[in-house]
Amino acid sequence: MEVGNFIEVKGVRVEYRSRGEVIVALNNVSLQVNKSELFCVLGPNGSGKTTLLKAIAGLVKHGGAILIDGVNALRIPKKTIAKVISYSSDVSLPEMLSLTVEEAVLTSRYPISKSFLESSEDFYRAHEVMKMLGVLGLQNRKLSELSAGELKKVLLAMALAKDPKILLLDEPDAHIDIKSKVELSKTLKILKDKVLTIFTTHDVVFAANTATKVLILNNGEGVALGSVKEVLTEEVLSKVYGVKFRVLNNGETIVPIPVY
């Protein structure tokens, strides 16, 4: 099964209905991501970043077309989608029912494991992923007991354990400390050749030093699309966020910063 080498999003539109009013969350958004690209979606609050990820994951109804390897995603069987795509966002758990970290990571294998209980391969992969993300030490803790940052890492493990071809991460860098952020960036870069990744973030520095391609959304519409150098410019950022930006580059790290 070799699905998930490239994604095309063509003129996607998503509407929500709230108290009789129609709210347009995404309007005519288009993009293309190939394997071995790290695609970042930036934009202010409410610009439609999360909705875009959900649309690609098939979790919200959308107009326009989303193609995976040239095939309309709606025509791909749900079971195949569940094996190929991981969508990871925040969760809130009821304390008294919470699973442990290990069990939660093992649930990620459900779409691909055929048996009722986990096979030793399922265990092996889950442990491998937990080790890679440095959360093996948390394996017996309950999900509800974790700090926000620890939970973010575990959520990434839960997204990766099923070996997806497409990884959709909603703010994977939220709540985590600076060292973890740098490590996350490195991990995503290592995974880049195996998994097509699209992530959202509010951190322009993280985006500038992690992504290979950036889309900026504003009010549900694509404002800029291109490489980091093309898009993360003082001009574009100032316009989108309504704050003056400076982009510093010391050759090692690109640092777009707002001027206070």
């Binding site: 959900k54 994951a57 979790l59 749900k78 079971k79 989608i81 569940a82 094996k83 795509i85 991981s86 969508y87 966002s89 969760v91 809130s92 758990l93 009821p94 304390e95 008294m96 029912l97 919470s98 699973l99 442990t100 290990e102 069990e103 939660a104 093992l106 649930t107 990620s108 459900y110 779409p111 009722f116 209980l117 986990e118 030793s120 391969e121 265990f123 092996y124 442990h127 491998e128 937990m130 080790k131 093996l136 394996q139 017996n140 999900l143 509800s144 839960m158 099923k162």
Partner: protein
């Protein structure tokens, strides 16, 4: 393939699970054996089976509802299923010209499901928190039980010899007739089959609707199906032995505490077995402890006396963690 990691938690759970299931089964078999061996053979067999199956069904429904609604305080009784089922049974006895026991489980299911969905509707309208569910459930449950008790007096005045109808107000195994066992046996088998289909989707649902959806489970569909399974099966159990409180609530938590996991593949079977054990022991206690002074009390009374304090403990624990 060698597994990395020093302590494999999930493996320990499996070993514990196997041990506890065996241990509980042995206790159940022994207690059933001694109970049956006290005379009136066929009645006692029916009574033991009735206790086992209903306890199993209530606890099974409780575990399923807790995961499905992501609410640790969910329980067939607290969510109003018991009251709804009881009311519909009494209405049926009043309205039907020639009531037949074979219709009772069906009638009960309609009443129980209506009450459950009414509770869910009200709870979701006020925010859908754990507490909203319990408060809405208590409202529905009290109302339906209240109307049911009123109807009970009408039934009495019209047909004073309707057997054991009073026993349904608080669950009792006294009226252990064969048709009830004949209903509950296939139901229990069906539930065991359904467990294999729903345990994994329910695990995903505990984590979150979106998470479950991206694993390929339709979250709303899973929630609806499991609510209907729990609603119908516990209504049928109510139609057999009446309202039993707290077994459905407490058994899953006992299972989770013993296993130290919420994985439904282990919780549902152990909780169901715990429910069967608790109800059987309640019935034995109901028959023996007070028999020297007041005679036999309904098993539901014993279950409430021991279940309610455990319920309070659970609430206290839940709030301390918040």
């Amino acid at each position: 393939m060698k597994l990395p990691g020093d302590r494999e938690f999930a493996k320990i759970v499996r070993i514990k699970f196997a041990f506890l299931i065996t241990f509980f089964s042995i206790i159940l078999t022994l207690s059933s054996y001694f109970f049956i061996n006290q005379g009136h053979f066929s009645y006692r067999v029916n009574r033991v089976l009735l206790g086992l199956f209903s306890g199993f069904i209530f606890a099974y429904s409780g575990s399923m509802l807790q995961s499905s609604l992501r609410n640790p305080l969910a329980d067939p009784y607290l969510l109003g299923i018991g009251g709804g089922a009881l009311l519909s049974i009494y209405v049926y006895y009043l309205v039907a010209p020639t009531p037949s026991v074979l219709h009772v489980p069906l009638v009960a299911s309609i009443g129980g499901l209506s009450a459950l969905f009414l509770t869910i509707l009200i709870a979701e309208a006020v925010g859908g928190s754990d507490v909203a569910y319990v408060l809405s459930g208590i409202g529905i449950s009290s109302f339906f039980s209240g109307v049911a008790i009123t109807l009970y007096y009408f039934i009495l005045s019209r047909a004073p010899h309707t057997p054991y109808i009073y026993a349904m107000l608080i669950g009792s195994l006294v009226d252990a007739t064969k048709w009830k066992v004949d209903f509950l046996l296939p139901l229990t088998l069906a539930l065991i089959f359904l467990y294999f289909l729903t345990a994994k989707p329910l695990n995903a649902l505990i984590i979150g609707d979106e998470y479950a959806s991206q694993l390929g489970f339709n979250a709303k569909y899973v929630r609806l199906i499991t609510a209907v399974i729990a609603g119908v099966s516990s209504s049928i159990a109510v139609s057999a032995i009446g309202i039993i409180g707290f077994i459905g609530l407490v058994s899953p938590h006992i299972a989770r505490l013993l296993l130290r996991t919420s994985d439904n593949r282990f919780v549902i079977p152990l909780a169901s077995l715990t429910g069967a054990l608790v109800l059987s022991l309640s019935d034995i206690a109901a028959k023996t402890f007070l028999s020297w002074s007041v005679g036999e009390v309904p098993a539901g009374v014993i279950a409430s006396v021991f279940g309610a304090p455990l319920y309070v403990m659970l609430i206290l624990r839940g709030y301390k963690w918040r």
